[in-house]
Amino acid sequence: MELLVYLLLSGLTTGSLYALIALGIVVVNKATAVINFAHGELFMFSGFVAWMLHVQMGVPYLPSLLAAVAFGFLLGAATDLIAFRPLKNANIISLVLATIGIAFMLRGTARVIWGGKGDYLPFPPITSPEPIMIGGIMVIPQQLAVLAGSIVIMVAFAAFFRLTRAGKMMQATADNAKAATLAGIRIDRIYMLSFGTGAAIAGAAAALMAPLTLLYPDMGFSFFIKGFAAAVLGGLTSLPGAVLGGISIGIIESLAGGYLHSSFIEVSAFIVIMFVLVVRPTGLLGSTRFRRV
C-alpha cells in the first residue's frame, strides 16, 4: 500500500512535468498544425540557462526560473522566425524537418557550451533533500515543490489563454485562422506567440525539473518523447487533454517501474503512443476532425 501511494505520488510529480511539456507541444500544434520537434531541445536549453544563472552565477532560484521562462519564450519565437514563417506554405514534411534541424542545432550548441556527451550537471535541490513522512508515506519535499510549481504554471497559463486578449486571439487563430485574419488579427504574430508560449512553458518545466535530476545536452529528446506521448494521449489539440495525458504517462511509468521492472520506465511512453494511435487515434479529449499532420 505504501509503495503504491509512493509510486502514485512520484508518478504524479513527473507526470505534471510531462504535462507542461505536452502543453507546449499542444499550444504550437493547435495554432499551426505542426509538431515542433525542437520542443525537447527548447526545454533542455532553457534548463541550462536556469542552471547557469542559479549554479554558476548564484542568482536565486525563482529569478532563475523566470529567466528560463523568458529565455524559452525568445527561443520559441526564434524557432518560429527560422523554421516556421519562411516555410508556412511548404508541405508538412518540410516544416517538421525544419524543426528537427533546429533541434540538432540547439543540441550541438548545448554540447559545445555545457560539455560533451556524458556530462551530467547537478542542480542543487531547492528544498531539503531529506524525505519526510506524511501519514506514513515517504515524501520527498522537492517533489511537492515541483508539483505545486507545475500547478501554478498550469493555472497561470489557463488564465492567460482564457482571460487575456492575446490568449483569446491564439484560441481564435487555432479555431479558424481565416476568420482571425478577416477580423484583423495578425496571425503571423499569433503563430510566433504560440511558439514562444509553448517554449516558455517548457522553460518553466525545465527549471522546475532541474533540481530533481541531472542536466545533460542530450536530455531533450527523451523528454520530448514523454511530452509527445502525453499530447498524443490527450488528443494533440486539447489543453486539458495534454495535462491529463502527462499525468497518465507519469503514473504509468512510475507503476511500470515499481511493479514490473525499471527498464519499463523508458519504453512505457512509446507503448502508450503506439497503443493510442492504434486504438483511439483522436486521443482521450481530441477533436474528431482530421488535421493536416
Binding site: 486578449r165 483569446k168 486571439m169 479555431d175 479558424n176 482571425a180 485574419t181 477580423a183
Partner: protein, 234 residues
Amino acid sequence: MLAIQHLKVSYGITQVLRDVTFEVPAGKIVALLGGNGSGKTTMLNTLSGVVRCSGGSILFEGKECAGLSADNMVRRGIVQVPQGREVWPSMSVQDNLELGAATRRDWGAMRADLDEVYAMFPKLAAVRKRRAGSLSGGEQQMVAIGRALMARPRCLLMDEPSAGLAPTIVGDMVDTILALNRRGLTILLVEQNIGVAAAVAESAHILQGGEITFSGPAAGLVDNDEVLRSYLGR
C-alpha cells in the same frame, strides 16, 4: 466611397480577375453577382487584403488601399463577413464578438458597441455564454455580422449571407441587411440568390470569367431576360 479600378488578380498563371472596375457609392448597397468560379469571393478577399492584386487600384475614401495587409484593411474600415459564417466554434458568443474588435484599443467604446450588437440581435444576448459552434446557422450568421460590426466598419463586405440559411429566415437576413444600411453602412453584397440582391441593392454588377459583364440597377434584375440568360442560363 470604394472605387475599384482595373483590378487584376492571378493565382499562379491563372487570371481570376482580368480587369474589374466598379464603384460602391457611400451609403449604398451594391450587389456583386456571378456564378461559381466567377471570381466574386476572390474580389472580396482582395478587398480584405487576404489576396494580393497584381494590378489596378482600390481607392477607399480617396486613399489607395491595394496591397495593404488584412489588419490594415480592417483598420481603414473595410470589414468582411465571410461566406459560411466562419465563427470561432469553440469560443463563446461574447468572445467571438469581442475579438471582432481585435484592431481596436478604445475599450469604453467597445463595450458600448457590444451592447449595441446585442440590442440589434437580442437572440445573441440570450446565448452570449454559449459556444458559437453550438448555435444554429442563422444565429451563427448573426455572430459573424456582429463580429464584423465590432470592428466599426464603414464599408461591409458580405459574402453570400443567405447561403445555407433556411428559406424562412432568408427574409430576416434581408431585413438585417437593410437595417445595417439604414445605420449608415455602405455594403458590398456578393450573392448567388438574385432575389435577395434585388430586394436590398440599389445597383448590381455581374462578374463572369473575371470580368464585369453587366452593370445596372438591381431592381430590374429579376425581369431582365438578358441577365437571367447569361447569369442563370435560362
